[in-house]
C-alpha cells in the first residue's frame, strides 16, 4: 500500500504539492487525473523515490521510498518523457534492468517482445514515439515490480497497442495483485481503465473515489407527468441538479439506483427514463457539489 502523508514538494518558489494525503491500496489500477501543472508527475516521482519531499513522507508498506533500494526494487516508473541509454537497443536495456531489478524476468521480456513485435537488436533511437513507449512498457512489465507507475501511459500509442497495454496491465493486476498508478490529463482515457480515481488540483487531491461506485451512485433521470408539477414532488430523492423544459424534467440523482427508480415510478410518470452518466459528467457534478468549477480543474477536458 502506498501512503502519502502531508507531503509537500516545492520547486524554488513554486509549491507543486501542498500537504497531500492519499492512500493507494494494493491490487488496483489507481488513476490520477489533473490538468497540466496539477502535480501528477511530481507525485509519481515522489512515489518512485526520484524526489524527496520537503515535508511529510511517502511510504510503501510503511517503508520510506527515497534512497531505499529494497523498496525501489518493488517499483517501476515509466515517465511521460522516455529515456533510454545512449545508442542502446532493447537488449542492452534488458541487461541494465536485469542487473538492478532483482525480480527482472527474461522469460517475460521475451514473451512481451513477441507480443509487441519489437526488434530487440535495433537501436532504440530509430524507434517511433509509440514504439519507444512499447519498449518502455516491456521493460517495466518485465521487472515484475509490485507497483507500476505510468505517467501519461497511453500517449503516442495507437488504439490497438493501447488496448494491448491495458490488457497487460489488467492481467498484472489480476494475476500478481500488482498496483498500477496511471496519470492522465484526460479523464476519458482513464474511465475504462481504473478502479480508483483521484483528481489533483493545485497540489492537492480534491476528490478520490471508487470508479464503479462513482458510475453507479450518480445517474440521470428524465421524467414527465401529465399534470403540472414542481421540484417539491421529488422530495426524498437526493438531486445534484434539476432542470425542467416544458413538462420534461431532467435530474442528476445520487443514491441506490433500484430504490430511486421504484420511488419515482410510484409517482406514475408518463415518461420515465434512466440514463447512464459518463465519468466526466459524474466529475462535473461532484466537483460542483464541492464548490469547484470542473472546467477550472480540468481545463483541457471541457471544450
Amino acid at each position: 500500500m502506498i501512503t502519502a502523508s502531508f507531503v509537500t514538494k516545492r520547486f524554488d518558489d513554486t509549491v507543486a504539492l501542498q500537504k497531500l494525503n492519499c492512500t493507494i491500496p494494493e491490487g488496483c489500477v489507481y488513476g490520477l487525473v489533473g490538468s497540466n501543472g496539477s502535480g501528477k508527475s511530481t507525485l509519481l516521482r515522489l512515489i518512485s523515490g526520484i524526489y524527496r519531499p520537503e515535508e511529510g513522507k511517502i511510504t510503501i508498506d510503511d517503508q520510506e521510498v527515497f534512497d531505499n533500494p529494497s523498496v525501489k526494487n518493488r517499483i517501476v516508473f515509466v515517465p511521460d518523457e522516455l529515456y533510454f541509454l545512449p545508442h542502446a537497443n532493447l537488449r542492452r536495456m534488458e541487461q541494465l534492468y536485469a542487473s538492478v531489478y532483482e525480480r527482472f524476468s527474461h522469460e517475460r521480456f521475451e514473451t512481451l517482445l513477441k507480443e509487441f513485435s519489437l526488434n530487440p537488436d535495433k537501436p532504440l533511437n530509430t524507434f517511433s514515439k509509440g514504439m519507444r513507449r512499447q519498449a518502455a512498457t516491456i521493460l517495466a512489465l518485465s521487472c515484475r515490480a509490485d507497483y507500476i507507475l505510468f505517467d501519461e501511459t497511453f500517449d503516442g500509442l495507437d488504439p490497438v497497442m493501447r488496448n494491448l497495454v491495458k490488457n497487460l496491465l489488467y492481467n498484472e493486476v489480476m494475476e500478481r495483485k500488482v498496483t498500477a498508478v496511471v496519470t492522465s490529463h484526460s479523464l476519458r482515457e482513464l474511465e475504462d481503465t481504473c478502479d480508483q480515481l483521484a483528481l489533483l488540483h493545485k497540489g492537492g487531491i480534491i476528490f478520490e473515489s471508487d470508479v464503479d461506485h462513482l458510475k453507479t451512485s450518480l445517474f440521470k433521470v428524465q421524467i414527465a407527468f401529465s399534470d403540472e408539477y414542481g421540484k417539491e414532488r421529488f422530495d426524498g430523492v437526493e438531486m445534484l441538479s434539476y432542470d425542467k423544459h416544458g413538462s420534461v424534467a431532467t435530474m442528476i440523482v445520487r443514491g441506490d439506483r433500484d430504490e430511486t427508480e421504484a420511488k419515482l415510478k410510484a409517482l406514475n410518470p408518463v415518461l420515465f427514463e434512466v440514463l447512464p452518466l459518463s465519468l466526466e459528467e459524474v466529475f462535473v457534478y461532484e466537483m460542483g457539489q464541492r464548490g469547484y468549477e470542473f472546467s477550472e480543474v480540468l481545463k483541457q477536458e471541457v471544450k
Binding site: 520547486f11 516521482r45 518512485s48 523515490g49 526520484i50 524526489y51 524527496r52 534512497d67 531505499n68 533500494p69 529494497s70 525501489k72 526494487n73 517499483i75 517501476v76 516508473f77 515517465p79 518523457e81 522516455l82 529515456y83 541509454l85 545512449p86 541487461q95 541494465l96 536485469a98 542487473s99 538492478v100 531489478y101 532483482e102
Partner: protein
C-alpha cells in the same frame, strides 16, 4: 563491496565511457613517443646516462588528467544535468552512495587503464633505449598521478553534484580544484615577500605547501621543484583527495534530483563562484597595496598617474567579469543586480589579502631563536628552493648528504641562535637585503616546529660559513657519510670515453676509492658548489675526472671525482682508453702549439691547454703586453716552451706514476667562435721532467690566482 559498487551498473557506466577511455589510453600512450623523441634527439648521450626524469614522466600524465577527467566526469554524470535522464537514473533501485561509488569506480578504472598504459609504455621505451629507471621514483610518480586522478575526479564530482548545468558545473569544479590553492599560494607569497628570516608557511603547514597537493601544483610552478617522493606530501595529498571524494559523495547524496537544468543548488555556491570570477582582477590591487604597506609609498615605485588608473581598471575589469559571468549563468539582468553583495565580498576578500598576510608576516619575523630551543639543524645549500629537488638532477651527492644530516653540536646551535638574533636586528633596522642567493639553516625545534635562519650579508655569510665548515669537519658521522661512496644506482660518464669505457673506469675507480682514507677521498671531490668547500684541489700531474649520475631511494644526484695516481687502476684504464683514441690528435696539436710559440700565426688559435691540474689560457701565453715586448711566445714564456717541446717529443703512456695528462681545447679552424672538445692524453715523463712539472704546477697553485685574471684587455 557489492553494497558500494554495483557490478551491473558499473558495467553499464564503464561501457558508456568506453570511447572516451580508449581515446585517453591511446593518446596518453602515444604521448610517450612524442616526448621520448624530443628527449632523445636533444642530447642522446646525456639522455642515455642521465637521470630518470620524473617530470618527463609526470607532465603528460597530469596534462591528460586535466583534459580527460572532466571529459570522463561529464560523460559519466551527464545525466545529472538533464531532467529526463536524471529521473531515469534516480529511479533505479540503487542508493545514491552506490551510484556515486560505482560511477567513480568506472571513471577510475578507465583512468587507471590510461595511466597504466602510459606507465608501461614509458618503462618499455626507457628500457628499449637503454635509459636508466629509478623504480622507486617511477612508482612514486605513478602513485602521485593516481592521487591527482582521485583529486581531480572528486573536484568534478563535487562541481557536478552542486550544479545542474554543465557551464556552471565546470567552473564550480575548477573552483573546487584550484581556488583553495590559489588563495593559499597568494597568502604564502604575500607573507614571504621579504621574510627570508623565518621558515615559510609551506614548511610549517602542509596546507600551504604547493607540493602537498599535486593536482593543483601547476597553478604554482608547473611541476618545477616538485618532490614526487615526499611521503608526507603523498599522504597529505591522498588524505586531501579522499576528503574531497567523500565530500563529493556527501554532495551527491544531498543533491536534489530536480536540480537538473538549474544552475546552482544554493545561492551561497552561486556567490562563491561569482567571487572566483571577480577575485583575479582584484589581485593586482592586492599586490600593489601590499607592497605599498611593506615598503611605504615611494614615487619611483609606481607614479600616481599609473597607479590610480591601474587600480580603477582592475576594479572595473573585476566588476565586468563578475557581472558577465552572472549574466551568462542566470541569463537574467535582475539576478545580476541581486548578486552585487557578492562583489562587495570580493572587495572584502581583497582587503583581507592586503592586511592579514602583512600582519602575520610582521608577527613571524620578529622571533629570534634561543640555543636551548634548537634540537638540531640542517644546512640547506639550495639557493631558493628549500627542499632538494630530485627533478632537475642538479643536486650533488654532497648536498644530499649535507641536507639529510641533522647537526646538533652545542657550539653550532649557539652559532645559529646568534645568527638568528642578528637576523632580527637586521630586520628591525629595516635594512633590505637580497636573500635569494643565500644559504639557509633549517632549525628543528622538536615536532613540527621549525624555523629558518638566514646568513644575510656576504661578509656575515663568509664568517658563519667558516665556522660551519669547522662544525661539519668536526662531526665524525657527517664526514663518514660525506666521504662514503655514493649510494644507490649509479651510471658513469666521462668526456671522450664511450659509455662502456666509462663504466669500466667507474668500476675501477670505486675499487680504488674504497681503499682510501677519508682525507684522501675528500681530496678527490671536484664539486665547488657546496658551502662546505672542504676539498682542496690537490696539485697533480695526472688530472682526469669521472662523473656519476645516481639515484638513491627516490632521489637523483650527480657527483664528480678526480682520477689521479691515488686511484691508479682507474687512472691507468682511463689513460689507456684516451691514448688509444687521442694519440695522433694530441701529438699533432702539441707540435702545432710548439710551432706557434716559435712562429705565432693567425691561422692557429687555441683556447687553452692544461698539463696536469694546471690550466694555461691562450691569453696567458701571448697577451698584448707580451706582443709589445717579445717577438714570440717562446721568448715570452721560455719555461712553458721548454715543457711543451719536451712533451711534444715524449712517447705516450698510461702509467699514472710516470706520466702527465695533457689536454687541449683548440678552436675549430673553420670557425673561430667554435671550440673543439677537450682532447686529453697521457704523456710519459721521466723522473726529472716529472719533478719539474710538479714544481711548475705547485708554483701556480701558490699564487692562488686564476690565470685569466692577470690578463686585462
Amino acid at each position: 563491496m557489492k553494497k558500494l559498487i554495483h557490478p551491473g551498473f558499473f558495467r553499464e557506466i564503464f561501457r558508456q565511457l568506453r570511447a572516451k577511455g580508449l581515446v585517453a589510453t591511446f593518446i596518453l600512450a602515444g604521448l610517450n613517443l612524442v616526448f621520448f623523441s624530443i628527449y632523445l634527439t636533444r642530447d642522446p648521450v646525456k639522455a642515455s646516462i642521465g637521470h630518470f626524469d620524473a617530470r618527463l614522466m609526470a607532465a603528460p600524465m597530469l596534462v591528460m588528467l586535466y583534459v580527460f577527467v572532466p571529459v570522463m566526469a561529464f560523460g559519466a554524470y551527464r545525466w545529472l544535468n538533464r531532467r529526463v535522464e536524471s529521473d531515469f537514473y534516480h529511479a533505479i533501485p540503487l542508493t545514491r552512495t552506490q551510484i556515486y561509488a560505482t560511477t567513480s569506480a568506472a571513471i577510475f578504472l578507465w583512468l587507471l587503464i590510461a595511466l597504466g598504459s602510459y606507465a608501461v609504455v614509458h618503462a618499455i621505451l626507457r628500457t628499449a633505449f637503454g635509459l636508466p629507471i629509478n623504480w622507486l621514483l617511477f612508482c612514486c610518480v605513478f602513485v602521485n598521478m593516481l592521487i591527482a586522478m582521485v583529486e581531480i575526479t572528486a573536484a568534478f564530482s563535487i562541481g557536478l553534484s552542486l550544479c545542474g548545468r554543465g557551464f556552471t558545473a565546470f567552473f564550480q569544479s575548477v573552483a573546487v580544484l584550484f581556488l583553495p590553492r590559489i588563495l593559499l599560494t597568494a597568502f604564502w607569497i604575500l607573507t614571504e615577500v621579504d621574510s627570508g628570516f623565518t621558515l615559510p608557511f609551506s614548511m610549517i603547514l602542509p596546507v600551504f605547501n604547493p607540493e602537498y597537493n599535486i593536482a593543483a601544483t601547476p597553478i604554482h610552478s608547473l611541476l618545477y621543484g616538485i618532490n614526487f617522493a615526499n611521503p608526507l606530501a603523498m599522504l597529505w595529498s591522498l588524505a586531501y583527495s579522499v576528503g574531497l571524494l567523500l565530500l563529493g559523495g556527501a554532495a551527491f547524496r544531498k543533491r536534489k534530483s530536480e536540480l537538473a537544468e538549474i544552475p546552482y543548488a544554493s545561492k551561497f555556491l552561486q556567490t562563491a563562484t561569482r567571487v572566483m570570477f571577480g577575485m583575479p582582477q582584484l589581485a593586482a590591487i592586492t599586490v600593489i597595496l601590499n607592497v605599498w604597506l611593506r615598503y611605504g609609498w615611494e614615487e619611483d615605485f609606481m607614479p600616481r598617474e599609473i597607479l590610480i588608473p591601474l587600480v580603477l581598471t582592475s576594479i572595473l575589469f573585476s566588476f565586468i567579469f563578475y557581472c558577465l559571468y552572472e549574466l551568462i549563468s542566470s541569463r537574467k539582468m535582475k539576478k545580476v543586480v541581486k548578486a552585487m553583495p557578492g562583489y562587495v565580498f570580493c572587495l572584502a576578500l581583497s582587503a583581507f589579502f592586503i592586511f592579514v598576510p602583512y600582519g602575520v608576516g610582521k608577527l613571524r619575523t620578529l622571533q629570534p631563536i634561543d640555543a636551548e630551543e634548537i634540537k638540531s639543524f640542517k644546512i640547506n645549500n639550495e639557493s631558493t628552493i628549500l627542499i632538494p629537488s630530485n627533478v632537475s638532477g642538479s643536486e650533488t651527492w654532497t648536498n644530499y648528504v649535507l641536507y639529510h644530516h641533522a647537526f646538533n653540536d652545542k657550539a653550532a646551535t649557539a652559532l645559529i641562535a646568534n645568527q638568528s638574533k642578528e637576523d632580527c636586528k637586521e630586520q628591525q633596522k629595516g635594512d633590505e637585503v637580497n636573500f635569494t642567493d643565500m644559504q639557509r639553516i633549517i632549525v628543528n625545534k622538536g615536532g613540527l616546529f621549525k624555523k629558518m635562519v638566514n646568513l644575510p650579508s656576504y661578509s656575515g655569510m663568509l664568517k658563519t660559513k667558516d665556522k660551519l665548515l669547522k662544525i661539519c669537519k668536526n662531526d665524525a658521522a657527517f664526514m663518514k657519510e660525506l666521504t662514503a661512496f655514493p649510494k644507490g644506482q649509479v651510471t658513469y660518464y666521462a668526456q671522450s670515453l664511450t659509455l662502456a669505457e666509462a663504466r669500466e673506469v667507474g668500476r675501477l675507480f670505486r675499487e680504488d676509492y674504497e681503499k682510501l682514507s677519508d682525507e684522501e677521498r675528500l681530496s678527490l671531490f671536484t664539486f665547488n658548489n657546496s658551502m662546505i668547500e672542504m676539498s682542496e684541489a690537490a696539485a697533480s700531474p695526472v688530472n682526469l675526472s669521472i662523473a656519476l649520475y645516481g639515484s638513491y631511494g627516490a632521489e637523483n644526484y650527480t657527483m664528480s671525482y678526480r682520477i689521479n695516481k691515488m686511484t691508479p687502476n682507474a687512472a691507468q684504464a682511463m689513460l689507456g682508453f684516451l691514448n688509444a683514441r687521442n694519440e695522433k690528435k694530441v701529438r699533432k696539436e702539441l707540435k702545432a702549439l710548439v710551432e706557434w710559440m716559435e712562429h705565432p700565426k693567425d691561422d692557429f688559435v687555441f683556447s687553452s691547454f692544461s698539463v696536469g691540474t694546471r690550466e694555461v689560457n691562450q691569453y696567458n701565453l701571448w697577451n698584448y703586453e707580451d706582443q709589445r715586448k717579445f717577438a714570440t711566445p717562446k721568448e715570452a714564456h721560455p719555461d712553458e716552451y721548454k715543457l711543451l717541446k719536451a712533451l711534444s717529443e715524449a712517447p705516450f703512456s698510461d702509467d699514472p706514476s710516470h706520466c702527465v695528462t695533457f689536454s687541449i681545447i683548440s678552436y675549430d679552424y673553420s670557425s673561430i667562435t667554435t671550440t673543439t672538445s677537450r682532447t686529453t692524453a697521457g704523456i710519459a715523463v721521466d723522473d726529472t721532467l716529472l719533478a719539474y712539472i710538479e714544481q711548475w704546477i705547485a708554483a701556480y697553485d701558490a699564487t692562488e690566482e686564476f690565470p685569466l685574471e692577470v690578463v686585462d684587455l
